[in-house]
Point group: C2
Chain length 176, copies 2
């Protein structure tokens, strides 16, 4: 049992194979998984499960030990992080095609931020146990998925690093 | 030919197999590649090449298209990034056991910062062509290496994201 199965109010839609059409639409729009052949995508979908969550559901909760990542298929979420005074800081929104929670899928560290459904949200989940099975049973697809995750983390690291440099630069010019 | 082969003043030491002892020492100290069995490490070393560079060598140059990552074996480098006014901003140092340049190895995007040798530096290199061969010829080791890289990028992303939040928080309290 993955930690996704402990979220209240969530509707289990079964494995992701029936959603492959929607996943393919999304992929064409956002260039995620674009190296995947259609049959590889179906192979991957067999290792994912789909869920639907109503407005307000905390799909991912900051600080929780999480062992799954989410691919948003329909609907939007708000990404929220507690600030030093315990208030909630909105870090952004995410919609169809965005992936959430890859970091904890990989390292099992506590969730960095929360993701809250802004409307009814449908999403596909890959948990750590399924990722291990995927790599063991379909190594070719497993390697492609890991390469996608590496690209994704890379892009994010480049973007956050640039933002950090800008912020530090802005602080310096203010201090001067 | 990888872009590593275009750096002047660099001494080619051959494949990394003779350095496996040193690599193992480093790994034990820093918990990198700790999931690797000794024979897997030797397998990986067959796909890496070792180099030595004198003080002042720019092993990685900001903005270059790079296709390799570096594992530092001996010596230290300074990580430098140009700021908006074209000055050089020192982002930190790195010593034995640190890896450099994984981001460009993976996505081929321009180097984010430069790495300059602070003394005589010995390092092992994995380039993209070797990574592809590793995954094709030794998929088991390839998957483990990709998982290590995912963990590494993850840790860095968590650390940079926290620094960014702190910086934004400091700017906000200054503005208030």
């Amino acid at each position: 049992m993955s930690s996704i199965d402990r979220i209240p109010n969530i509707e289990i839609l079964g494995d992701a194979v029936p959603f492959v059409g929607r996943i393919r639409e999304i992929i064409e729009a956002i260039h995620l998984f674009e190296d995947f052949e259609p049959e590889e995508l179906t192979g991957l979908a067999r290792f994912m499960r789909c869920f639907r969550a109503p407005l307000g559901t905390e799909i991912i909760r900051e600080g929780d030990t999480g062992d799954f990542m989410v691919l948003l298929l329909d609907g939007n979420v708000e990404i929220v992080k507690k600030d030093v005074r315990g208030g909630a800081q909105i870090m952004g929104n995410a919609g169809p095609g965005k992936t959430l929670g890859e970091m904890s899928l990989i390292d099992g560290e506590p969730r960095f931020a929360s993701c809250v459904a802004l409307d009814s949200v449908t999403f596909a989940v890959l948990d750590r146990e399924s990722l291990s099975r995927l790599i063991a049973e379909e190594p070719h697809i497993g390697v492609k998925l890991m390469m996608e995750l590496l690209m994704l983390l890379n892009q994010r690291l480049r973007s956050v690093s640039s933002q950090l440099l800008d912020c530090m630069e802005a602080r310096r010019s203010r201090i001067r």
